[in-house]
């Protein structure tokens, strides 16, 4: 898996972002089957403002991909394109190609509902519905056609165990989800996404609203997903990216618009970055 990262490094070079060389993208033969997402020349606009331009990246199946970069460089907007949540954001306009398992998710025949069932999304601020803990997990299951009560109960228990919440809440499943602590709420949100058995999780700074203890629990959880689930996680915490990331993508803001500057294996980005800006950023020299 690790050699795969090297292959994509050559593609992302600040010089050719606006005009990617076709030969570069022509034959990623070595790892054709491993890319979950293949993103090609993706640009995102909000009205006239360009948030992100010319991003081409491949995201590997089973990897944890950490996205780092300063605020306002389009990291969250990028995430919103991975499960087409951008279509539900007012004024958001996307161009370019986002292939998920070789299918263009922005094509009109995409089943958005099935897509989002397969790709879970975790928000920066925990957002469990103001319902009971049980209902938070039951509602998405019912929404996607599960009617069998015993199966639902089983899946609720299994996902709560998977996020390490079962022991803490098993006696109060009918208690309000908003009574949980911030970290517990975030784990409940992860459980809510996992209960639909997705193949990937997208996480937008999942720990930024949490204390260090809760953060380490969530980090441990993310690491436990490795190989069973693909994870794309945006983080402002460089050490966190280093701890959990298999691959790291560095987004940078230039002239008020975001772009992907460099992507590679975690070690390479932190120890031998190709780009000077990356080196400065991971050293903490610029922000």
């Amino acid at each position: 898996m690790h050699n795969l990262g090297v292959a994509s490094d050559r593609r992302v070079d600040s010089g050719d972002l606006g005009n990617p060389a076709p030969s570069d993208r022509a034959a990623p033969a070595r790892r054709q089957n491993d890319a979950l997402w293949q993103i090609d020349d993706l640009s995102i606009r909000y009205g006239r403002k360009v948030a992100l331009a010319g991003v081409s990246i491949e995201i590997e199946r089973g990897d944890i991909t950490a996205i780092i970069g300063p605020s306002g460089c389009g990291k969250s907007s990028f995430l919103y394109c991975l499960n087409r949540l951008s279509s539900d954001v007012q004024g958001c306009c996307v161009s370019g190609k986002v292939l998920l398992n070789s299918h263009d998710i922005f094509s009109p025949d995409t089943d958005q509902i099935a897509l989002r069932k397969r790709i879970g999304f975790i928000f920066q601020k925990p957002n469990p519905f103001p319902l009971s803990i049980r209902r938070n997990l039951e509602l998405p299951l019912r929404e996607h056609g599960e009617r069998d009560r015993t199966r639902i109960e089983g899946m609720i228990e299994a996902t709560l165990r998977a996020v390490g919440l079962w022991r803490e809440v098993k006696d109060r499943l009918n208690a309000p989800a908003l009574q949980l602590s911030g970290g517990q709420q975030q784990r409940l949100c992860i459980a809510r996404a996992l209960v639909l058995e997705p193949e990937a999780l997208i996480m937008d700074e999942p720990c930024s609203a949490l204390d260090p203890m809760a953060t380490s629990v969530i980090e441990e959880l993310i690491r436990s997903f490795k190989d069973t689930l693909s994870v794309v996680v945006v983080t402002h915490n460089l050490r966190q990216a280093k701890r959990i990331g298999d691959r790291v993508a560095f987004f940078w803001c230039e002239g008020n618009q975001g772009k992907l500057l460099e992507v590679g294996a975690c070690d390479q980005i932190f120890n031998a970055p190709k780009h000077e800006l990356t080196r400065l950023y991971v050293m903490g020299g610029i922000a």
């Binding site: 499960n83 949540l85 539900d88 007012q90 004024g91 958005q112 509902i113 099935a114 897509l115 989002r116 069932k117 879970g120 999304f121 928000f123 601020k125 957002n127 519905f129 103001p130 319902l131 009971s132 049980r134 209902r135 509602l139 998405p140 929404e143 996607h144 009918n174 208690a175 309000p176 989800a177 908003l178 009574q179 949100c189 809510r192 996404a193 639909l196």
Partner: protein
């Protein structure tokens, strides 16, 4: 209890001022209630509630008037609640952001809400009594009232749905809920308590309405046998007894007491319904 009030010290003039306003409001309410209780209580009896009025209302009871009032309000709510919910969903979820038609609708609603009820009465008379041929009837009165409360009801419902935090909306969409299911399963249940408060205001307003009903539901104090019959609303009965019938004061007080009792009862009932609804929906936290 009252901050700023400590034993042995004079309260700060600001504290006195701040507390005198709510006290004055409560005092006015208590005075009105006390006055009505004092004069109306001995007039109140079971027979007063069920008997037909005699001697133009000086004697007898208010049976037919209560029936007519309840029928008018029921028609009003049956028509206005579904329409207002639909219109509010349209405004808050589909015409949300500075949409031109949405703005035109909102401005029209705000202006309609400010139109004096007597104008609604005249229009109701022209439209329902004459054009649709309902004549002076409970039906025409109920429909006119529905038109009158709709603007306020739509705006409060829209506000209630719009106030549901965006995080819940996006959270549901990210779990693969369709837009309509998000509205039905998440937004409306969360907004339900606020929607019911709006409905309560509408009920209060329609129970107390006089002017709009003078021209539509009529003045007849016989027991109505169908919705096509005219019927006298409680507030019109009170107006008539107090202003036009010499010696009708006691009955007017009795009727006013019944009206206030009804409003209290409906208020309490709606609070109970909200509580039960929230519990069955698993809703637990106040928004």
């Amino acid at each position: 209890m009252i901050s700023g009030l400590r034993p042995g010290r004079l309260p700060h003039p600001g504290t006195v001022l701040v507390w005198s306003v709510p006290l004055a409001i409560c005092a006015v309410f208590a005075w009105m209630l006390g006055d009505i209780l004092l004069h109306g209580l001995d007039h109140l009896s079971f027979s007063f509630l069920i008997e037909e009025p005699r001697k133009s209302g000086r004697a007898g009871g208010i049976g037919p008037i209560l029936v007519a009032t309840c029928l008018i309000v029921t028609i009003c709510l049956t028509v206005s609640l579904p329409i207002s919910l639909g219109a509010a969903v349209l405004l808050s979820e589909f015409l949300r952001h500075a949409d031109r038609s949405g703005r035109a609708i909102r401005i029209s609603l705000d202006m309609l809400a400010g139109i004096p009820s007597i104008v609604f009465g005249i229009v109701g008379n022209a439209v329902f009594c004459r054009f649709f041929g309902f004549g002076y009837s409970i039906m025409a009165g109920g429909l006119t009232l529905a038109c009158m409360v709709l603007p306020v009801l739509i705006r409060t419902t829209e506000q209630a749905i719009g106030d549901v935090p965006e995080a819940y909306r996006l959270g549901a969409v990210a779990l693969g809920f369709s837009k309509l299911r998000t509205i039905r399963r998440i937004l409306i249940p969360i907004a339900a308590p606020s929607i019911l408060v709006g409905a309560l205001l509408a009920v209060g307003r329609s129970f107390a309405e006089t002017a709009a009903l003078l021209f539509t539901s009529g003045y007849v104090d016989r027991m109505p046998s169908s919705l096509g019959d005219p019927g006298r609303a409680l507030s019109i009965h009170i107006l008539d007894l107090a202003m036009n019938i010499p010696g009708g004061d006691a009955a007017a007080y009795g009727s006013a007491l019944v009206l206030i009792g009804l409003l209290f009862f409906i208020n309490g009932a709606i609070q109970c319904i909200t509580l039960v609804w929230r519990r069955t929906a698993g809703l637990t936290a106040a928004i």
